[in-house]
């Protein structure tokens, strides 16, 4: 978690306006507030988590990213962050489009379904993968649209979304993803972090 926060924080310029979509209990918001910018908002669907955020004094709105991003004007945030949430939406493509409208830049992080440990579970155990990063069983997972680093990379090129930076994370090891190492990073990383712009 900490590594992901650090990488996200390093992608953000100081004193910019940030929206954290699916901000959970506000841990990333708090981290960024202490390290980068005071001007940070959150959107979260769970009442309990919204209350936790508000209790910490964080500016968070209860709402659903699939319907409530529309209320923010175009380019009203310098950065919109979507941390490990994309796979849980009914329609990730619409959400990505909304994020790109609201934010000048968008940071998306993706739990990588192409990670070799995930692949091995399906290959050898023949069951849906359950890992530290993806702890749910197939019948109770909130994750509707799992994808791999390579899937997201290809999605961006197909939709003409510019990738400014793509970073792979394995445990605490950080590396850049590029055209030539894509297949390897897709196999050897548990998390992909993308800085994109429409």
């Amino acid at each position: 978690m900490k590594e992901e926060f650090n990488i996200i924080s390093n992608l953000i310029e100081e004193n910019t306006r940030v929206l954290d979509v699916g901000c959970g209990n506000g841990d990333l918001m708090k981290f960024l507030q202490e390290n980068k910018t005071k001007d940070i908002r959150g959107l979260e669907i769970s009442k309990e988590k919204v209350q936790n955020c508000l209790s910490k004094g964080l500016t968070v709105i209860e709402g659903n990213a699939e319907s409530d991003l529309k209320q923010f004007p175009k380019s009203s945030f310098d950065y919109v962050i979507l941390s490990q949430t994309l796979q849980a939406f009914l329609n990730p493509e619409i959400v990505i489009n909304e994020l790109l409208k609201v934010g000048k830049k968008v940071i998306v992080t993706i739990p990588n379904f192409g990670y070799w440990r995930v692949r091995l579970q399906l290959l050898f155990k023949g069951t849906m993968p359950v890992t530290e990063n993806l702890p749910h069983e197939w019948y109770n997972t909130p994750n509707l649209h799992m994808c791999t680093i390579k899937d997201f990379y290809n999605f961006c090129s197909a939709k003409n979304i510019k990738i400014f930076k793509s970073i792979a994370l394995k445990k605490s090891r950080i590396s850049e993803i590029n055209e030539s190492n894509l297949n390897y990073k897709n196999l050897d990383s548990h998390l992909g972090i993308f800085l994109i712009e429409s």
């Binding site: 306006r17 005071k38 908002r41 009442k47 919204v50 209350q51 955020c53 508000l54 209790s55 910490k56 004094g57 964080l58 500016t59 968070v60 709105i61 209860e62 709402g63 209320q71 923010f72 004007p73 009203s76």
Partner: protein
């Protein structure tokens, strides 16, 4: 109402131009304060009361001898902690707890003003209370807070005085009274006016009181403050002090007895004309209309931080109407937080012991106070 009690009062000498076109001056505002104003004057919170509220937010209400109407929220070690904050609450104009209203005695005639009192609006109420803030020499409030009609006043206050509060918390309210809201208020007013003792509003001249009409108004309104589920769980079809139906029109059911009781205690503390005037003010409230149909424009000038709260079972001021305020604020990039609190207690939730509401409100106010003071805004 207007009994001889020792209310704190100031006389506003500045003329106040009302929305109806009339001008008032030398009028009283009754208020109460709790806690101490700190030396920087940075800890003041102005609380606005709802339709039938008054200045007695906390502690014992000297008129009813009951707890103040927001005792769950305001007081020592409460969410709005009076050990830390200086809390101010004024009776709205139009009210009957010492501020200028229809039961105020007209000194030239020695009689109550009655329905010669001018029609007032939420805007007028807020402008009158701003005079109190000036009198208390508070340059900037830490927060303005209120539920229901109190929330409407919060919105109007920030629109009128965009740099006078650091934080605004409108709770269970709306930016514009809906047809349903107006309909229920009209029902209440008609009940009062249908009472033969109303005497076109001059009942006090005849030593009368339209208490039957006012009680019916209160009973009808009271239903709108609760939820169907809450009513069903609390009362169901339970009978009142009897084992079987009596085949008559007495209060057979507990719910009937409860409503009759609510009506009867209300008439002891509230003036029927005030009920007419204040419900009218609520009906006239339409903040977006004041800004040519664009609610966002009401808040364009402000840097005030907002926290909007609604309740799941509130059908009088439903979440959708509270959310409209949030949407208007977001569309101009204002600093706004929002949560809908889970509760079966209907619109009244904001007045009652709803732990997740009280905790979230208290934690939010305290952590925001800390952050704002650290940043020295």
């Amino acid at each position: 109402m207007n009994k001889n009690i020792d209310t704190k009062k100031i006389i506003i000498s500045n003329p106040l131009k009302l929305d109806c076109g009339k001008e008032i001056n030398n009028f009283p505002i009754a208020y109460e304060t709790y806690g101490e104003l700190n030396s920087e004057k940075s800890n003041a919170i102005l609380v606005f009361h709802a339709l039938t509220g008054d200045q007695y937010v906390s502690g014992k209400n000297p008129i009813t001898n009951k707890d103040g109407w927001w005792s769950y929220v305001v007081g020592e070690n409460k969410p709005i902690d009076t050990n830390k904050f200086f809390v101010i609450c004024a009776n709205v104009i139009g009210g009957c707890m010492g501020s200028y209203g229809p039961s105020t005695i007209n000194e030239s005639t020695g009689k109550q003003i009655g329905t010669d009192f001018p029609i007032i609006t939420i805007n007028d109420m807020v402008n009158a209370q701003y005079e109190l803030i000036k009198y208390l020499e508070i340059e900037k409030l830490f927060a303005v807070v209120g539920g229901s009609m109190g929330g409407m006043q919060v919105l109007q206050f920030v629109a009128n005085f965009p740099d006078k509060a650091k934080l605004a918390i409108p709770i269970a309210c709306t930016s514009s009274h809906s047809a349903q809201n107006i309909a229920f208020n009209e029902l209440g007013r008609q009940a009062i006016m249908a009472d033969s003792k109303w005497e076109n509003g001059f009942y006090s001249n005849y030593k009368l009181n339209p208490d039957k009409g006012l009680a019916v108004a209160r009973m009808a309104a009271h239903i709108t403050y609760l939820s169907e589920k809450g009513l069903q769980e609390k009362f169901g079809r339970k009978l009142q002090d009897r084992d079987s139906l009596r085949y008559g029109f007495e209060a057979d059911f507990q719910i009937e007895s409860y409503l009759r009781y609510q009506g009867s205690v209300f008439v002891d503390r509230f003036d029927a004309n005030s009920y007419l005037y204040i419900t009218r003010a609520m009906d006239y409230f339409d903040l977006s209309k004041q800004y040519k149909g664009n609610l966002s424009d009401a808040f364009k000038e402000t840097k005030t931080k907002f926290f909007v709260i609604s309740f799941t079972s509130d059908w009088l001021y439903p979440t959708s109407e509270n959310r409209e305020i949030v949407i208007a604020l977001n569309s101009i990039g204002a600093d706004v937080g929002f949560v809908e609190i889970e509760s079966d207690k209907g619109h009244d939730s904001f007045l009652l012991d709803v732990p997740s509401f009280l905790k979230t409100l208290g934690d939010y106010i305290n952590s925001t106070y800390k952050v704002i003071n650290e940043r020295r805004i």
